[in-house]
Symmetry: D2
Subunit: 438 residues, 4 copies
């Protein structure tokens, strides 16, 4: 249990009581240390990292590399793997991990740990877990509507002369850019059996190492103008790219099985990061609102009651989206990723849009400076906007939820028919004429 | 713990896992029974009640009276009093009470139970607890901005010739209408000591029985056109109204102490009711969306993907506002009403507006019928709209939250100054030039 | 041209310059007189009319009857008929008629004037033009999705034994209530030829006089709780109702032709009324904001900068929706109702929703009183909400506009292909490598 | 007058009839030619310009330079100057100029043309009119709330030893970046007389040539990550910068006079550009919606009725904001910039926010590609977002409008008091009891 002192500590104060109650002593210790780590090692380092990137854009900056070494020493590396991963996991529940861990690494590591055979794990997973290399997830395509993943058209065939070799052809968007010197591997979802009558069994996931002959980068995709170096977002072509068949994960035709396992937690991780970022945007707004140098019409920005209301509205929305994400994490802990599907979708739909709106309001409070590099607000906004599309646009998730909900209509109709029957009884009992409505 | 079967029962299925876990066996039993009660005794009775009201508008309808008798027999009456009320309470936490209980009765009963002396309780509280009479809360005034309650101007003076008699003068809005035959009492907040230097000690709360000489009803206030009979919303005048001084609650000048205690839980009760109503509106929308008779352009309403998205959006918002209210209830259980102030305000700001919007969308799905008496939707909307103003408009609550938040800015600024200092260190360490931002 | 003095007169001041320029001397005179009429005869009479309705709900109140006589004497009756109606018209353009004229009378009169034969006009139109009787439009049905009017199922057949008599069977919603003593006639749209291969030729419009054997009222539909007496909104049944075949308007199977002609201007009239009502709501908000009795936290409501911003937002939205409606009226004047279809839909989609939101904000500024009969705000809101559904819900209109817009995509694509070709030329000219995007 | 053919030409088709009617033959000719120019010379050249900027970021790209020469030859250069500028003007009204002209050049040229003496015009204005140099406007400051321009603190003093020389000290944000080789001049607003009792007479506007000793650029401000080269947005310091006193514009203490003249039309120009950009974003959305390669769940994006509704909503909003801007332009033409103040503010508040929302929706329709450089959408969004802050944030404009509106309350109250008096008369006439409301 949290001590009274802990409860008002910034690392814990925003957590609702039901979550505070559930934290194990181990989690409390981790959160306290991670909070300190973020406050002293991460946030203050941001501009140094940017300066190092200005020198070498496509390389993990030295400060980050050193931080990784330090994090390992302090036991703060790879905290995200859930208990089911045994020794690889620090033993924290989804609910307990409130720190940041970056995409697509978490999702990819979880995928490899869950679905690879031992040889694959040794070769590809361990260097990722050690932070020595980084990985990309290769799914989106420019030529089809890949938000409906059954449309994915990038083709995997077997070389007829060398059946141990796969030949890949297609064009992909997203998945980090291979220019990053530390990138070692693309995890590719592509179509291997287009004629299979079951559309959910046509696709296969394989590991494409870097470099692979026939693979080339077209460009780095900017996101709202940001290059997102050193990871970037690649646009790239597989042109008779040759990959060993041993790099197939789980088995041919099993890509959807894998994708389901990957995307659920990944979506919640995005939402967790956004909550952290939005809290920081909110803190900047509070600082601006009380900046003694900024007095339009003679009052502090925070003395205008319109801004007082805006601050309250932001605070209240932020906390409501935190409740949604914490509930999704807990639902996954208790009932599993699959049963948590609805709660995950609820987070994915609500959080990125609300986060983007709150950060936008914070930028507006900063006036002319708000849109510039004077603060991290524009980059935070960009990330929130990105997540509204990453792993599927809002509309696709709403569509899925809505269709599931409509399946519940029949049972509800049954209950309402019960009301009607009982109403008739009551009319008779009380001598009241039954009203007919069309 | 809930059984697997219970977990999908409509009475429990919408509760998040962290709430399901916390339900005591007693609460599970109550919820199951109350759910059945509502499904079989309340919802189907609505139109019968309306028919009985058409015969006698200002009298609790016979069906309701009978239901009260039955509810008492089944132990489902007065479930809302929290554990701190001892024998009067069924022993349920705020979190566990997910059933409806009507305003202003709950708030008034809680007020009387908490602040009255024994004699007052015998005389006024017991008949209310028995459902034999009903009560009104008399606070709002037309002539001042009473959302800032220090402005309340209705005057209580002592009769100089008879100091045991209070003389009341003023005009009030809201508080039920005395035309209701069952109304027995107004709980009046008025100004007894306007010169007191402490504005929070100028007001006194007294019990005004019905009838009282000098008290008269001006009109019943309709809410968006609804008369809300038999309770109504009164507009009335105290003109030299004479009330025994023994009817002072808690003591002179202590009205704000009482008001604080009353309004917190009352706001959450309003929100709980709204969640129940909005669920019902949502169910009606699902039924409409699958009504085989309604096929614009040849498709069911629920086959249009725009409506599929709308249904998802409603579901997701509804569940997020439930999380907010459940968290507020739990926060009050764990930390008390006062510490729960923020969580209560969060509910009060989010829920009525969101509920009104969802119900409005449901009405729109019903087309021309949606605004008529064919469904309960318009009345449900009216109640949601009413709660956006009742117990203070949104803006007043946002103002309070915003001002509290701004008090946290200094500590946050301190942490951010820490970032700046650490950034300077890192610049030196890494040989990077420090950037200056205005 | 307007004089400088006229330009700041409340009757003209809100009109944009391009509209002020277009007003004929006749229109200027009419507007000035109608404005005076509304200010002195209509607005102040509202509560008197309500008092008279309380005495006899289903009868045009005596004050209104007297006003009609006076209006005729002053030449202010039936101002709405456009120039194309010859002597029946006062010769004003759509743009020039900025005064209120009530639905469904305007639409029905226009329909009868446009499509009836002389005998029908003598019998049914003249008493309406004289304001001696009133009329209803009977289209919506409870059993089908009648927003798609091809679904209308109410049946007209010929009596096989008496081919001069039509037999009608069906249930309708909306169309005023026959309880109104002054109602003389229903204009009914129903299905006469369900097997016709052209779905736009299956329906016929007929005049159903009151009383007609086989016609009966089920109930008055309340709109958000309001009974809208004395006109009301009826729910009624045609059960072997017998109507002379001479009452067919324009010809069998021509109902859609008639409906098109009726609904366009009717929608703009609704929007015009809403602008007038919203202006009035806005004026009430300004009065409240400067009411010296209302000082929450010691300041006038209009001294809070949050409210200053709200007032500005309302003003700006109100004027932008006026520009939309005036443009639609002018487009109809210049290019006809059919070419004005898009501009009409633009008004119908934007105005009711925006008006309802503005009025809602005004109610909120009034605090507890805002939802009651203390002002006309709740009724104005109800009318705005009603119009969001009347003559088709927003979504149906958006659907129509969206489909029309998608037809323009091919031409736009052609222009963009031109850009691509020209880009290639420029690449060659400037020696720049062409970028390929998927 | 437009021919029937012209009316459906893309250059004119979106103009409302009242604007089409007002176009002079000269304007029709200009618009037709400018439309062709934009379609063939500008839009297709965008990526070539980007490629040239990649080679030399801080220099007007050669293609642009050539376009300027061509534009001059075709008489399409400097079209924006209004008729009052005599020979400098092509004689078009605000209403007629629907083409793009870039900021801050238009505003600066207008300022110099209006307020400079002949010598200043020769030296600074002519090269700008010829497109040989470019200019910056230097107003915003990081250290004060400069949206309230009376706070501007950058100091101008006279050198006591050399009174013909001004000494400037201060830090500024915005105003293009001096790295642009073509930038010749900053138009600086600064404080020259801080003790003047009239706060509107404390500031002076001067021309600061480039280079000026004591002036230095700190950095280029990125806007949402974009560098906006070659113009950029500078952050820069005046540190004892020395400027000849002959560079004072209009006279000491007259900066506000100048600022007023500059900002009105500048705001409308921003809004005009945004409408053009949003139209283009909309066209891209239509093309995406009908792209045969994009078929999520087997249907074109434009076959989902949710997207059909989104397209309609975008179209309708776009056209409503065009009506607002055209009305503002016309109001300025007819009544002057000062009387047009409200209409300008209406545009400035409505257009940037609505444009950003529409472009955001278009990006979302593009899925993963929508946020990348595959289209111009992200840059267009960035410009719209920028304009929500440029020349003052929304809230500042709403504040100004709201305060002006509140001044009208007294007259409105007078009219409403008239209603009350007349109501009393009517009560007497009709024998109805007058209702009293608080």
């Amino acid at each position: 249990m949290l001590s009274a002192e802990d409860r008002v500590h910034p690392a814990f104060a925003r957590l609702p009581p039901w979550v505070q109650e559930k934290l194990s002593p181990k989690a409390i210790d981790y959160i306290r240390r991670v909070h300190h780590w973020v406050e002293t090692e991460c946030v203050p380092a941001e501009r140094v990292v940017k300066a190092q990137l200005a020198v070498n854009k496509w390389k993990t900056p030295p400060l980050i590399q050193e931080l990784r070494v330090k994090a390992k020493k302090e036991g703060l590396f790879n905290l995200f793997l859930p208990k089911s991963f045994g020794d690889l996991s620090p033993g924290l529940t989804n609910l307990e991990r409130t720190m940041n861990c970056h995409a697509p690494e978490t999702g990819n590591i979880e995928l490899l740990a869950k679905y690879c055979n031992e040889g694959q794990k040794q070769k590809w997973l361990l260097p990722l877990l050690n932070g020595e290399t980084s990985s990309a997830y290769s799914m989106t395509e420019p030529d089809v509507a890949s938000s409906d993943a059954t449309n994915i058209a990038c083709r995997i065939t077997r070389d007829p002369k060398d059946p141990d070799t796969l030949v890949v052809n297609g064009r992909k968007l997203y998945g980090n850019v291979a220019w990053n010197e530390d990138l070692s591997v693309y995890i590719l979802m592509a179509c291997s059996d287009p004629e299979n009558p079951d559309p959910w069994k046509r696709h296969t996931t394989i590991i494409v190492p870097k470099p692979t002959p026939g693979f080339r980068i077209v460009r780095n995709l900017t996101i709202m103008g940001y290059d997102c170096a050193p990871e970037g977002h690649g646009e790239y072509i597989y042109e008779n790219a040759r990959v060993p068949a041993a790099n197939i994960i789980l088995g041919e035709g099993r890509a959807f099985e894998i994708a389901q396992g990957r995307l659920g937690p990944g979506r919640i991780h995005h939402c967790m990061r956004l909550i952290g970022q939005t809290e920081r945007a909110y803190e900047l707004a509070l600082i601006r609102a009380t900046d003694p140098r900024k007095k339009p019409r003679g009052k502090l920005i925070g003395e205008f009651d319109s801004n007082i209301e805006r601050i309250a509205a932001m605070r209240i929305q932020l906390d409501s989206m935190r409740l949604v994400v914490l509930n999704a994490a807990h639902t996954m802990d208790v009932h599993g990723n699959k049963s948590g599907r609805y709660a995950i979708a609820q987070s994915k739909i609500i959080v990125p849009e609300m986060a983007a709106n709150i950060i936008d309001e914070c930028m507006q409070m900063y006036g002319g400076q708000g849109l510039t590099q004077h603060t991290a607000l524009p980059e935070m906004w960009m990330y929130a906007r990105f997540v509204r599309i990453a792993d599927g646009p809002d509309a696709a998730h709403r569509h899925q939820v809505g269709r599931d909900q409509l399946k519940t209509a029949a049972a509800i109709k049954g209950r309402h028919d019960g009301y009607a029957k009982r109403y008739e009884e009551l009319c008779r009992t009380w001598g009241v004429e039954k009203e007919e409505f069309a």
